[in-house]
């Protein structure tokens, strides 16, 4: 009953209902689009959920996630979308949860265009949480209201805890499953003027370790990705970015350059790399990985 006051966030009962009858949440290129308004679940009142399955036109041994059902929170965002496309490419049935139907539709159309079709789903094999956290950057902590500092931490803790718990309760019954998250180098590089972002990412990683040690004996793995800033997801509206200790506000090109200089490969991570690595980590080929990150930071933060 502790979910009662969670204010519309995904609770086990809602999620399991969704898993038990996901038809209304999925569509097919040849079928009329389902009434998606009936399947809205998730983080806020406006959260929507869509589901796809990639048409298995490849050999069975050529895909990593055949017969896997994956739910992706934040599926309408850059990262969630990239993960969704990669999961679908590797044979998974993908369910998207997000706040904006339009954003989910865009990802859905891309997957459909690439051969995805609707199909009735079973349980959840993979839960990937890629939601954003409402971070506030650009001011030092000493000038920041507590609420601006704390918001991303609490948003992340709530979302990561509740979606992982919902997935875990389901996965425990089957004795298998993979729970996933994503963090960025903001935490590991200790950069000024990022407000609560560094703490948020460190807290997400810590929570993944905690879930990992408790769920490991039950057959459930918990893994996450560590990325650099993702150029394809960086605002290109022409707005300036904070100085992050560099002494001056930066244009999009300048901030990308600044981040690239901190890598060994002299470039940043692509969304395609996020997707491919996420798919591998979710697959049985990574079955010896739990409580660990896949570090895809182009060498920004070497493993120690």
């Amino acid at each position: 009953m502790d979910e009662v006051d969670d204010g519309g966030r995904p609770s086990p009962c809602v999620l399991e209902e969704f898993v038990a009858d996901p038809r209304s949440a999925r569509h097919s290129p040849t079928a009329p689009r389902p009434d998606l308004s009936t399947s809205r679940v998730g983080l806020t009142d406006a959260t929507c959920c869509l589901g796809w399955e990639r048409e298995l036109d490849r050999q069975e041994d050529g895909v990593l996630l055949e017969n896997k059902n994956a739910v992706i929170y934040g599926g309408g965002g850059s990262v969630g979308g990239a993960v969704a496309r990669a999961f679908a490419r590797e044979g998974a049935k993908v369910f998207l949860v997000g706040r904006s139907l339009a954003a989910l539709d865009k990802v859905a159309d891309e997957i459909t265009a690439a051969g995805g079709v609707a199909e009735k789903g079973g349980g959840i094999d993979v839960s990937f949480n890629a939601i954003s956290h409402g971070d506030v950057h650009g001011a030092p902590l000493v000038q920041m209201p507590f609420e601006d500092f704390a918001r991303p931490i609490m948003t992340a803790m709530r979302a990561q805890f509740l979606t992982a718990r919902a997935a875990a309760r389901h996965m425990v019954k089957r004795g298998s499953g993979v729970i996933m998250a994503i963090t960025a180098t903001t935490a590991r590089m200790t950069i000024p003027n990022v407000g609560g972002t560094g703490v948020t990412f460190d807290a997400i990683e810590s929570l993944c370790r905690q879930w990992g040690c408790e769920l490991g004996p039950l057959g459930i793995r918990v893994v996450w990705l560590q990325t650099t800033g993702l150029p394809e997801a960086i605002d290109d509206s022409g707005n300036l970015f904070p100085n992050y200790g560099t002494g001056k506000a930066m244009t999009r090109e300048e901030i990308i350059d600044w981040m690239q200089e901190k890598t060994m490969l002299n470039r940043l991570t692509s969304l395609a790399e996020v997707g491919s690595v996420a798919a591998f980590m979710a697959s049985d080929q990574a079955s010896a990985m739990t409580a660990v990150a896949a570090n895809i930071t182009c060498g920004s933060v070497p493993t120690r």
Copy 2:
């Protein structure tokens, strides 16, 4: 104005007021005890504040914290008390902030008995936050209400952020100061059934790194202690402790044995060690340390 809704927690104005006129908050063995009710500031309505200064009967070069003013949040607890005693022994004027006047009084009496006298203070040189966080142990996350998981994280983030920000705003003006915290091996050893404790400690360490990188150029250091469980602070009421993955509830002796086995020195950290190391880290002898921990875990978690 962001402090307006912080509900009685230490805000810069309250703390600076306290610093500017701390007389009412301190007492002397030879003077009548001040009316402490007038100096209640801090984390809750019941929070109290006391101040002492050690009588400098040693040679000047024999003490680490001469002429330093230190405020200790959670000063009535085991850790806060140990730190207070060590700081006073090393020559600091010590101000205690806590929720229980009786607990503060006990520490105050010990310090007084050891030679501490009241004296008018100046600014803050050291801020040490050792408050407790209301952790809930003993159940796996999968059975835990979100609120029980989140409480210690939010309690710690709020207290650490606000007390550090208050101290930092004061220290920035003088271009020096040391902000301190304490964590335990619960985080680094990834133990099941500790609820949000591991995440809390990792978040505290992450926040210290963030403060460290932002305040370093301003001359302010941020350091923390990493301890094992502290036998002197472990409940000896006869209650059983959770199993922490060991398969059965543990008596006080069993849990101490279980923790000792995880160390290299086959023993746990003492409060005296906490105090001595805290005093050293707070002193100018540790002036090259910031954004780092003093690891006093008896070898439980080697430096990597």
Copy 3:
């Protein structure tokens, strides 16, 4: 000319010769077996080299290492063999280097039976060093001769440095390539009575970071695997194992149990997992990974 006194270890000239004309080192199920004695290169006088290519009977997009040439040092051992099989399965041409022709032959026959055929190779795309280091376990350092402690460190440093340098000199010309190594939890768990093994693994990881930061700007990635003990590679001759601080010598079953208890998944890593993860790390799908490990320790050492 610094290779002159390296006593038969792989030097750039020898390796490049081998790369330029590897025909004699490979064989086909339909062709007479080549005279392998002519292709002996490597770590000692007895080192042998064999090469294979997997028959590409799968779709191009179904394999990770199509058109890649991989050289595996220690290819006759458990790990090297597992990596070789996985690389071949994913479409790579595999070259094995080791000290025992019989051991290489065994791996070669397995690959051949699975469809591998001989083919003329080009340059090196992947270099994987999985040689053993002559570790001495079972005595504390305080009783250990320096030579026994130092042997694995020096063996590893020499082999890892020289094979990586040889590969790097070749890969620099093409602006791409992946250099790989493997370590075990012996280092990260800080276990007594392992002699120089922990230092050896830490030094290998450190060297990988060093190579990574120097070769990253040149397009070459350097990655490694971190495993638990590998049951399939553990001596099953009935000999007892050292006590490793447990107080008594252990049978094979006891040592496996002891290692399993330290994991979250309650099991150890399999050779198949080593192979699959190695193949992924070597592939372009892991193109954002350098100076990092794939941690496949079943949760023994969570990412921090």
Copy 4:
């Protein structure tokens, strides 16, 4: 008997002899200088050994290392000298081991001028190894002869292993003691063109962990310091320094600036800080520290 071929390096027998009768190795301002040629022990034929004790003119509780005997390898160098002065200031009897009598004499004179007197010593309480390793910087690994890469690693492993083993064998009998080393950020910051230096420091830290886990149950602690580059120890002969990936050779001022930019405190560690922290780590006040570093890198590498 494994020491037989160690070529003059400190072996247990030589060191214990030195400990048993250190008179000839120490001198007093009021006594004739002893014949130091009889006390030459150590790393090479030219290694010398001197011993001092600080005159205890301070109160007993004002010093950290009263009645402690400390041997410092590399005592004639910048770091060893700073440690020696700090140890002596804190009341320890200090024995210096080094390769150059002139360098030892300089440190000895400084200690004497500050009040040190000769006295007969007992066993060893602290062993600090601060020798240099013959690193070669300025070229990428891909162009470096193996010997240049391996020399510092082997020099460090041999010296750290043999001096620690000698001290440990002695300390085991008394059930107490502290073994110490020092590393620099070269390892943790993963800088190009440092040859084997990064690996050397990582290997030293790994060896300290190994010693720590084996010696902890016997009452012996093993700790080390992590520093930035030390300006007072940087060559001021006007020679240029390597580019370390910066694109051009650097003057002394440029290399100091470049290192300072990587710290949070915008400055580098001083020798006085090295000495003070070393003295604290060696003292009983740090009795809960083993297998850990004191990170005095001015915030270059935050604790994670």
